[in-house]
Symmetry: C2
């Protein structure tokens, strides 16, 4: 019987926290949030589900650690930016592109509010807020506003990608179905939404995202000087 042909190769070394996290990232990238399962993970690692619990406390910690690996990697790539504004735009776009590449990160970030991944981003933003010479008593709320906006867009993108994957559609098809829904809305109750329904199909999420960052930067500039 060739039963062993489709079996994964036996593990060539000891299990480790990092090895588990790397395998988790691979599963998440491949199958989205639902792709990470202790059973799939233990199969990938050629072990039993119980073995993973020797290295990791629970699924929440696993997701958070996977998320942190991605975020830390992104923040490590240096940005040759001159002004604090440029740097903030670059950090924000880095987040956008990272979550575009790993949609599950958007959801994972929200899941652990005070966790290390979010602190990393908050720190980066905060340093630039300082560099913008925002008064000390407004630095907290300013950095928080930027972070919230970035997380808001991230969450929506992550959700979009997730339903697209769940229904195995591409981005264009999802937008098409939303556009159809919007066009059939009641004219009197939804005048604005209907008027912009045409822009839905050919808008650029990344451009819109940056426009929001620029609004915040303009607001900071005019409020804090």
């Amino acid at each position: 019987m060739g039963k062993k042909i489709h079996t994964l190769p036996a593990r060539d070394g000891a299990l480790s926290r990092q090895r588990i996290i790397d395998a988790s990232i691979a599963l998440l990238d491949q199958g989205g949030e639902g792709g990470l399962t202790f059973r799939a993970l233990s199969e990938q690692l050629a072990t039993g589900p119980g073995a993973i619990y020797w290295h990791i406390a629970n699924k929440g910690e696993l997701l958070s650690a996977a998320c942190d690996t991605i975020i830390a990697h992104m923040l490590n790539t240096p940005l040759p930016c001159v002004t604090p504004q440029d740097t903030l735009r670059a950090v924000a776009l880095g987040m956008f592109d990272t979550i575009d590449a790993h949609p599950w990160v958007g959801a994972a970030l929200t899941r652990t509010p005070g966790g290390l991944p979010m602190v990393r981003i908050f720190e980066r933003i905060g340093q630039q807020v300082r560099a913008l010479r925002v008064p000390e008593d407004k630095q907290w709320e300013t950095a928080s506003a930027l972070l919230s906006y970035i997380l808001g867009v991230s969450g929506q993108n992550a959700a979009n990608a997730q339903i697209a994957q769940a229904r195995s559609l591409d981005r264009f098809e999802v937008l098409g179905s939303v556009s159809a829904t919007w066009s059939s809305l009641d004219e009197d109750a939804f005048p604005f939404t209907r008027s912009v329904a045409g822009q839905l199909q050919d808008h650029d999420d990344r451009v819109d995202f940056l426009a929001g960052i620029n609004l915040l930067l303009k607001g900071i500039e005019n409020t804090c000087q």
Copy 2:
């Protein structure tokens, strides 16, 4: 045997979509996202799990419908505001307070990207963006930015409330544990976060939220005029 004493009363009428949604909201308010279960719901409604599927397609639709009920109710309360800015602030704070009262709504909103609940909010915001005389080709990105920011804060608040409930702590205790984590961060790697760690304990989420809205409004004012 008094076995029937703790049994729920028999259903006094037919099942209906609205009755199911109302029961779902009650479960969600009481037990958070994890509180809504087809088994708990069918027990509450004195029926079997299968009966619910006659009226609702799946759990996603149920969550979305529950969310829409809350959002629609909030948007129905009239706002006696003079300027578009005032109205935008009022709508935003309405969202904030609603999600403060029903944290699960924050997560549910993100779950269904193009859904009716989000369209309702988008419409409200968009109408005020128009009233602000934002040029037509910038209305989409402006309304989107406001919506993303609101959703970002909502998502974080929802997550905070959820972990607080899961660990059965109050808000103050959660902030305390986060504050302790922040204070133990490496001084060199996290100078900003450490410097604002003191503000964490006594800050007001609602005030910070409004500060972000005001930054965006200032940005809109200075960009579009």
